[in-house]
């Protein structure tokens, strides 16, 4: 069972503080959508508004075409998995999972059968009589998931369900949840602040910023074509260069600046840009180091000196001082601190925006 979820210009406020400033989003039946953003961006508020724990001050939420904005949480056909798991410590695993069915007045035997089915699906067989306090973190997380799935909801809401798990268990559970959601064909909305988690699990990612949607799209699009400096930085392109540039046909002429050499990038300019200042974002892993004197006509070259080095594994990560700025660059070779180098950024690794779009 799954359903289309339409969020239509929804606004939500805590007291006088507007947290959601008009959010619209269509989620197809069976789709897995991640709401991604840093703390305070409104992602949890949006999830809680969808769930009905907060009421929208404006806008509509529709499930399968029906407006449910005024319905109480349990009439919305949604089930939520909480960050803290929110299991009831005075009930056994089976009682936790079966509680929603007891509320629906199912007969005792039918509940027991359904609980067994859910526990088997989540590889919790035989743990039904266990006290939830005796379970590991990963098991609790699965009981919480089972409790939500037992009532056969049309939409599953996940509020950072993995953030309390150990790093290694988390990776397994990511794949389990994703596979389960695909098998059941359930619609899922997943709140997270972990970029990789959203990338790996979601069909589509919604980036929220200050109560508004900054970008929506499949993981590859968000990662490779962020539509603003904010999204670029949030998706890991944290190195920033300001460039003087002008469009020239399909290429962009970059003038020599305080940190960069002149070059011509074979790359489309931002829409409507002709001449002026550009802000370029790039990832440390998309750049590389070249000799200090090296020239490359097709790439952006930033000559500087290595000031710090570390080995996070597989590659070396260097901090390179270029003028007043520092850039993080990954390189396969070990180099000395103080060495004169040039940061080489290929044209397609640069995300370019008119300077007016940048906040700082």
């Amino acid at each position: 069972m799954s359903a289309r979820l339409e969020i239509d210009r929804v606004e939500t406020a805590y007291g006088n503080v507007r947290v959601l400033k008009g959010v619209s989003l269509d989620v197809a039946p069976g789709e897995f959508v991640a709401l991604l953003g840093s703390s305070g961006c409104g992602k949890t508020t949006l999830l809680r508004t969808i769930a009905g724990f907060l009421s929208a001050t404006a806008g509509e939420i529709r499930v399968g075409g029906r407006d449910i904005s005024a319905e109480p949480p349990d009439k919305r056909g949604m089930a939520m998995v909480f960050q803290s798991y929110a299991l009831w410590p005075h009930m056994t695993v089976a009682q936790n999972v079966g509680y929603g069915l007891r509320l629906k007045k199912w007969p005792r035997e039918k509940i027991a059968a359904r609980v067994d089915e859910i526990l088997a699906m989540l590889k919790l067989d035989g743990l039904g009589a266990r006290n939830v306090a005796q379970l590991s973190g990963g098991q609790r997380q699965r009981v919480a998931l089972g409790r939500a799935l037992a009532v056969d909801p049309a939409i599953l809401l996940l509020d950072e369900p993995l953030s309390n798990l150990d790093a290694r268990i988390r990776e397994d559970v990511r794949h389990e949840i994703k596979a389960l959601q695909k098998n059941l064909g359930i619609t899922a909305i997943h709140v997270t602040h972990d970029r990789e988690e959203a990338m790996v699990m979601a069909d589509r990612i919604v980036i929220l910023d200050a109560g508004q949607i900054a970008q929506v799209g499949p993981p590859e699009t968000i990662y490779n074509a962020p539509n603003s400096p904010f999204v670029a930085a949030f998706m890991g392109a944290t190195n920033v260069v300001r460039l003087s540039a002008s469009r020239s046909g399909d290429s962009i002429d970059i003038a020599e600046g305080p940190g960069n050499r002149a070059t011509v990038l074979r790359k489309a300019a931002p829409a409507g840009f002709e001449r002026g200042e550009l802000v370029a974002h790039f990832r440390s892993e998309a750049a590389e180091l070249a000799d200090g004197a090296a020239r490359d006509a097709g790439a952006l070259m930033l000559p500087g000196r290595i000031v710090q080095a570390s080995y996070p594994g597989g590659i070396w990560r260097y901090s390179v001082a270029v003028g007043d700025s520092q850039y993080m660059v990954d390189d396969p070779d070990r180099r000395d601190i103080g060495a004169a180098v040039a940061v080489r950024v290929p044209a397609d690794a640069l995300h370019l925006y008119p300077a007016a779009m940048s906040r700082n």
């Binding site: 724990f53 089930a79 929110a86 009831w88």
Partner: protein, 277 residues
């Protein structure tokens, strides 16, 4: 580390002895007194006399205190539940402000207030008559066991409600939201989700209230002069008017057994909770 730890235990022993003597010895001595006559010979006569004179009062005391505990539990769960689950902020603020005031009223003041309030021509009846709900002839005095229970409940509910509301407020709110999300009504959430999670706090509050009610002399003395009376009144009578310490000690022993049972319950419950973790 072995020897130095033993030395530190030896160093602490005098302090522990002082605590033990100061806290335990007076009690033990009085309990022994219950089994001795005026010549310090061993006897059960004190208990015989206590049984003969006060067996009705013992039952009366127990009934009053159990009824009070039950009502206190109900009211404090209701108050804590409303403060935790209620949706009207204004109502919660008013309730939160009002309910704890009796905590700051001494028992004797409370007893005195209730005397004025509950007497046959007291404020309560007069108000009821004024509104035509009863007529003056059928008005009766509540200055008996009902008055005692009312005063106890009035005075102790805030104490237990304070503990219960605090414990409920300290629970992970998402355990409440998870139940709401699945369709549980507020009453079910209170009974099935909240109360089981704060049951230990509730039990502690009730045990402490139990002991407090066993302690209070002023309320039964002032509210219910007639027989049957509570054990506290009897003990005060035996000592202050009759000078019969033996029987008073025996009654004290009985009181102590009752509270000891409550204490045992408290400890057992506490240990079981720890064992489950």
């Amino acid at each position: 580390m072995g020897p130095s730890r033993n030395v530190s235990i030896l160093l602490i022993v005098p302090a522990l002895l002082v605590v033990a003597v100061l806290f335990v010895y007076p009690l033990g001595f009085s309990l022994v007194g219950a089994f001795q006559d005026k010549q310090s010979a061993w006897t059960l006569a004190n208990f015989g006399r206590a049984w003969e004179l006060y067996r009705l009062d013992t039952a009366f005391t127990l009934v009053i205190i159990f009824v009070s505990c039950l009502l206190i539990a109900l009211f404090s769960i209701a108050i804590g539940g409303y403060l935790t689950l209620g949706e009207s902020r204004v109502a919660k603020a008013i309730l939160g402000f009002v309910y704890r005031w009796p905590l700051f009223i001494p028992f004797i003041v409370a007893a005195q207030c209730m005397r004025t309030f509950l007497a046959r021509n007291g404020t309560m009846n007069m108000t009821l008559v004024y509104f035509g709900i009863i007529d003056l002839e059928s008005a009766q005095s509540f200055l008996d066991w009902r008055g005692i229970v009312l005063t106890f409940v009035w005075k102790q509910t805030p104490f237990v409600a304070l503990m219960v509301a605090g414990a409920m407020g300290g629970l992970d709110r998402s355990t409440i939201e998870a139940a709401r999300n699945l369709g549980a009504s507020r009453l079910r959430i209170l009974v099935e989700i909240l109360v089981p999670q704060v049951s230990r706090t509730l039990a502690v509050g009730l045990v402490l209230s139990f002991v407090t009610m066993m302690s209070v002399l002023s309320v039964p003395l002032m509210l219910s002069g007639q027989s049957p009376s509570m054990l506290t009144v009897n003990m005060a009578w035996r000592i202050n008017s009759v000078g019969d310490y033996g029987t008073a000690n025996a009654l004290g022993f009985v009181s102590y057994l009752m509270t000891g049972f409550a204490a045992w319950f408290y400890l057992r419950h506490g240990l079981r909770e720890k064992g489950a973790q």
